[in-house]
Amino acid sequence: GPVPPSIGEEEEDLAKNYLKKLYNMKESTRSFGRMVSEMSEKLREMQEFFGLEVTGTLDAETLEVMKKPRCGVPDVAA
């Protein structure tokens, strides 16, 4: 899956909310496997926009960017 064990549940929720609000990630109404796949895809979009290493996984560097104060308008990648 895209979320390594070192990332806590709270941080994973933060990432999901971030991607739902800014990258149009859909609410999870599908199977877990497909949700993970979409999260990975949205993480890639976000990582590409911010010039991060594009892995599709939630790593510390990506989380750090997500935690920064920012404008609430979705990024152009979305």
């Binding site: 926009f49 911010f50 010039g51 960017v65 920064k68 104060p69 920012r70 404008c71 609430g72 308008v73 979705p74 990024d75 152009v76």
Partner: protein, 170 residues
Amino acid sequence: YAVVPGNLKWKTNQLTYRIENYTPDMSQAEVDSSIERAFKVWADVTPLRFTRIYSGVADIMISFVVRDHGDGYPFDGPHGFLAHAFFPGPGIGGDAHFDDDESFTFSSSNGYNLFLVAAHEFGHALGLEHSGDPGALMYPSYSFRDVKTFVLPQDDVNGIQAIYGRNTEV
């Protein structure tokens, strides 16, 4: 830089704005000054001109709000999302909302500088999307810079001039 898909822009260069309410974090004069300077950033490099009105509906309505404020995009309390604005258009189009759970400042780096946040939001209100250039004003993450010596970064100049052209009065 990136512009809004569909080339959404104002059909006139003469735009109005109205400050609907104030944050308690700063004096009203400081808010007025921050907003005026934030518009000037864009007016300096384009033919756009901004006139403040004190009643009625302006093209760009400015308000300080918290949490759910009726536009479907609730704020999230301190930090996180600082503000948002709508792309050019009638009604809510062009309007800028600032999260009043934040601590806004006039010139200090303690808190979020209202001039910097407002200048960014007005970029959206004029038709700019977020830029992936970390040095650009339209980069989505907030970073403090010295407002006394602020100059609109070239990426933002290129973006806004791609929509409205240059300021021919300079």
